[in-house]
């Protein structure tokens, strides 16, 4: 049944033979091709292509040997062209057949035929290998266009004779299928995948058949696919938004985006991922961005964290999607902070508790810090917006209205209340947390120098009065400040602790010195003192004259002698207003155990007068203590209020002319009676003084910064000098330009600086001409 291998020289015969084999492979591969047919075809191709070498009788070849080559050439081409003719016929039939199918049936047909065709192509390619290896190769080497190896030829023909005609219908089918899936129906995804693969296979690189490109796929699949996607989601989202809330829409969009991502993984080419996501984001997010952003404020107001997170996720996918949110967020946080402060400011009035104030600030910060962390993934720009907002409401709010330095003042007071011994001292861990929280607010405080001033004042008090709750906590707090502001900021604070230690040793050696002299704690006065470096401690010498009471004169002189002996040439200033003592009152009738009065040195001096007389006049007290009115009268009032002293009739109040009598019927529930109370007026005055010193310090700070800059730069433009001064000082406080100018004026007047060129406006130069 197998026809003989055809005459190698007869083209018609050879092709008829070959076509039969090819047809079988193409149409009926499944029933198998026997070895003889296979070998026959292969041999026929070989024979045909080599036939000219065996023919000797041909006159042309006798004449010219070169024609041998040309003959083989031409004959290869005949086979090639015949193959093209065959393929065109085959594909023409398929094209006609395809017209009877539509949609899924068409897809099935296309895939089936494609699979069969490409499988056959592989075999045929193999059978025609001789042609490939010789004729095709030579043609291609010679640079002929549109000559392909047999397999590629199949693909090229498919594309020309079938694909170009049916691709649109096929794509319609694909898109309908995908739309079905988007509408929630189940589809056979493998079908789409096969189509994608076939489209990709058709992407031939014209210059190199071993490579493929995605051009065909991009043009005929990706483009219509993206267009259909845009259209689909435009319709859907428009309708959805009209019928549902924004929050619902965000959920929908989120789901859709996830679905599309899954679609790529499941059956699309990975190359489509970027463009598809971009398309979806544009339609689903970008086109509804303003709607989403409008909802942002509502979500913030209602603290809808998960919805905010959803919105963040969506808008973060489009370019510049988040910027408007940041602005709104910043404004919102600022408003929240301001209204929180407004509320407590109204409640607290002038005597606002530092704790309440700081807690209010922290609460707002914590709430939105949490929001940024959870919903906005701690994104750097949102963190910055939060910081900006916090800086605003920490430094400029209702409480700060009276004085811009109120925030650092209250913060420092709060720190003091935590670090000072009190009845309800916080747990160690809790205290540490609170100190950390203070640093959170501190970070936002612009006037860090004000905090420093108040903090060091109050630290000095804690140390001098031994009311610090814990050394560890103090150290930890200073460590935090040092970390935030550097060594210079905490230098003096640390020196204060050192002085305390030195004083402790000093008291010990004083005792030893006394013992060495054979004197006990003479006069029944138990005495300790601290010697503190003037330049590190924010303490001022007393503002009132004071006559040291007789009882402690001896102690006083002795210590002065001791100290001069030890450190010759150092000057001691006694801060009487900070000294205190205890007096035993053995005169009271109400108790057998004598009361102990805890008093200031000034009060001590007053009470001691009653050792000699039970009634003393105002003038006598004034004369013998030497105290000025501001100190004398409040102290007396404390005695009257506590009923340690009573007014002698007809006196009605503390004033010159009154007399005071010792109250022998004094009663107290406690044995130790604290009479050493700071007077409110005193506290207020102290705050005012602190503010005043801050102003002075700032001037000095600015001036020294200016001189420092000028020393380094020698000659500088006015504008640059101002800018650099701001830059240097910013970490402590924000200087105002007019204040800097005033400092420049002062330095000019002091002749530290000179205007080099008074001629050209804006070109002023300053010059240090004293070192």
């Amino acid at each position: 049944m197998q026809p003989k291998t055809p005459n190698r020289e007869d083209l018609v015969q050879t092709w008829a033979y070959l076509e039969e084999g090819v047809e079988k492979i193409m149409k009926d591969l499944n029933s198998g091709v026997d070895m003889n047919t296979y070998m026959g075809v292969y041999t026929a191709v070989h024979n045909f292509c080599t036939s000219q070498k065996a023919v000797n009788s041909s006159p042309q070849t006798l004449q010219n040997n070169g024609a041998v080559h040309r003959g083989a050439h031409l004959l290869g081409e005949d086979l090639y062209n015949n193959l093209i003719g065959y393929l065109s016929r085959h594909l023409g039939t398929l094209k006609t057949d395809s017209e009877s199918h539509a949609d899924e049936a068409l897809l099935a047909f296309y895939i089936r035929e494609w699979d069969r065709y490409t499988t056959a192509a592989k075999y045929i390619n193999h059978l025609f290998r001789y042609l490939n290896r010789h004729w095709v190769k030579r043609e291609m080497d010679e640079g002929k266009k549109n000559i392909y190896d047999v397999y590629t030829l199949h693909l090229v023909r498919w594309r020309c004779d079938l694909f170009d005609h049916v691709q649109k219908h096929v794509m319609d089918g694909v898109l309908k299928l995908v739309e079905k899936q988007r509408n929630g129906e189940t589809i056979e995804t493998a079908m789409v995948k096969s189509i994608v693969d076939s489209f990709v296979s058709l992407g031939l690189d014209e210059s190199d058949s071993s490579k493929s490109t995605l051009d065909v796929y991009r043009k005929f699949f990706e483009k219509p696919f993206l267009e259909a996607t845009t259209l689909y989601y435009q319709m859907e989202s428009k309708q959805f938004v009209a019928e549902n809330s924004v929050v619902e829409y965000m959920k929908k969009a989120e789901t859709r985006l996830n679905e599309e991502e899954g679609r790529v993984q499941m059956y699309l080419h990975p190359d489509i991922f970027q463009p598809l996501m971009k398309t979806c984001q544009k339609v689903l997010i970008q086109e509804h961005a303003s709607l989403l952003r409008e909802e942002f404020q509502v979500l913030l107001d209602n603290d809808r964290q998960s919805d905010l997170q959803r919105m963040y996720n969506l808008l973060s996918r489009i370019p510049d999607g988040l910027d408007p949110l940041r602005t709104k967020f910043e404004a919102h946080v600022r408003r929240a902070g301001l209204s929180a402060v407004d509320k407590i400011a109204d409640e607290g009035g002038d005597n606002l508790e530092p704790k309440i104030y700081v807690d209010a600030l922290l609460e707002v910060h914590a709430q939105y810090k949490n929001l940024v962390d959870v919903a906005f993934k701690s994104e750097a720009e949102f963190v910055r917006s939060l910081d900006n907002a916090c800086r605003e409401f920490v430094n400029r709010n209702k409480v700060c209205k009276s004085a811009s330095t109120k925030s650092p003042e209250l913060l420092a007071k709060y720190a003091d209340s935590l670090l000072r011994k009190s009845a309800k001292s916080a747990e160690e861990a809790d205290l540490e947390n609170k100190l950390t929280a203070i640093m959170t607010v501190f970070k936002y405080v612009e006037d860090k120098d004000v905090f420093q001033k108040f903090y060091s004042k109050m630290l000095a008090k804690r140390l001098v009065n031994f009311t610090s709750a814990s050394d560890d906590a103090e150290t930890s707090m200073i460590g935090k400040l040092k970390e935030a502001c550097g060594f210079e900021y905490t230098n003096k604070l640390q020196r204060m602790f050192q002085d305390m230690q030195i004083s402790k040793d000093l008291n010990d050696s004083y005792k030893a010195w006394l013992e060495g002299k054979g004197e006990s704690a003479a006069g029944g006065v138990d005495f300790t003192c601290q010697v503190l470096g003037t330049s590190f401690w924010p303490l001022n010498p007393p503002t009132t004259p004071f006559n040291i009471p007789e009882v402690i004169v001896q102690t006083y002189t002795r210590f002065v002698n001791f100290y001069n002996e030890k450190h010759n040439g150092r000057k001691l200033t006694w801060l009487w207003h900070l000294c205190k003592g205890e007096l035993k009152a053995s005169y009271c009738k109400a108790t057998k155990i004598p009361y102990t009065f805890q008093v200031s040195t000034y009060q001590m001096a007053m009470l001691l007068l009653f050792n000699d007389a039970t009634t003393v006049s105002h003038e006598e007290i004034e004369k013998s203590t030497g105290l000025s009115k501001e100190y004398l009268e409040p102290a007396l009032m404390v005695f009257l209020k506590a009923k340690v002293l009573t007014l002698v009739a007809p006196a009605k109040k503390v004033e010159p002319g009154s007399s005071y009598a010792l109250n022998f019927d004094f009663k107290s529930k406690k044995i130790r009676v604290n009479l050493n109370m700071a007077v409110r007026a005193e506290q207020k005055q102290e705050v005012e003084e602190t503010h005043k010193t801050i102003e002075e310090d700032r001037k000095l700070l600015m001036q020294s910064a200016i001189v420092r800059i000028m020393k380094a730069r020698k000659v500088l433009k006015h504008v640059v000098l101002v800018q650099e001064t701001i830059a240097q000082i910013k970490s402590r406080f924000t200087p105002k330009i007019p204040d800097i100018k005033k400092c420049i004026d002062i330095l000019l007047e002091k002749e530290y600086l000179e205007r080099l060129d008074g001629e050209r406006l804006g070109m002023f130069v300053l010059k240090v001409y004293t070192s």
Binding site: P738, K741, E749, G758, E759, G762
Partner: protein
């Protein structure tokens, strides 16, 4: 032109004598040191020997026939390189008059118009600049750095008024222009003095005084182009501008 400094430092009597014996080129104005010395003695304050002082100056100016409120005396003090406010010492006087080649009131009156012209106020006149700066030092007490507000107002008012650089000027000519001149080289002169008058400042520093010249040059009367943010003028000028804006917006 002023003579070299050593001339003043050397004993004037000795030096002057040689001058009289060998007449100078300017023969039509012979200078006699002896005449000059006699002249000085006629002006000398008996309570402060060796000096012409505020006690004798008004009478002298009257003899010269010029207003005491003009700038003539300042110019004389400048020529003499006088050091102490409202005082010209014998040495300073002889040095100055020698430089000017004047040995009598009449000779001085003849010389003054050209001197006044030489120092007349304008931005382009460098001699005025040195004269202006001299006045700060002359009216500044030796042990302080600033001049008093009263003196400053007087200096701004008279030194920057070109009309006063004339022998015939009298105070009645002032007040002709109510709201300052607004034109000329020193448009801010009067308004600035008014501003100083209502401020609580006590003194004017050298920087403020000296900067008032370029300030007039660079800041027009209508303040166009002045930018508060970028101003490099002393704070006093900024305050003046703020005051001006508030006064007549």
């Amino acid at each position: 032109k002023t003579g070299p400094k050593k001339k003043a430092a050397a004993s004037p009597t000795k030096k002057a004598r040689t001058t009289t014996t060998t007449p100078k080129k300017r023969a039509n104005t012979p200078f006699s040191l002896r005449t000059c010395e006699n002249w000085f003695e006629s002006l000398e304050d008996p309570e402060s020997p060796g000096n012409i002082t505020y006690r004798t100056i008004p009478a002298w100016l009257e003899e010269l026939g010029v207003s005491a409120e003009g700038v003539v005396f300042y110019v004389i003090a400048w020529i003499c390189k006088a050091k102490q406010t409202f005082t010209i010492s014998r040495e300073e006087f002889l040095y100055g008059m020698n430089t000017l080649v004047a040995d009598s009131n009449e000779a001085l009156v003849r010389k003054l118009p050209s001197m006044l012209k030489e120092v007349s106020p304008s931005h382009s006149n460098k001699t005025f600049d040195t004269f202006y700066k001299f006045c700060f030092n002359y009216f500044k007490p030796a042990d302080v750095k600033n001049i008093t507000m009263e003196v400053a107002q007087e200096l701004f008012t008279s030194l920057l008024d070109v009309n006063r650089y004339s022998l015939s000027w009298t105070p009645s000519e002032e007040n002709a222009n109510e709201c300052g001149e607004k034109e000329g080289d020193f448009p801010h002169r009067k308004a600035f003095v008014d501003f100083l008058g209502q401020s609580s400042l006590q003194v004017i520093t050298r920087d403020q005084y000296e900067q008032f010249l370029p300030f007039n040059k660079h800041v027009p009367w209508d303040l166009v182009g002045f930018n508060e943010e970028e101003s490099t003028w002393p704070t006093l000028m900024d305050n003046y501008i703020a005051w001006r804006k508030e006064k007549c917006p």
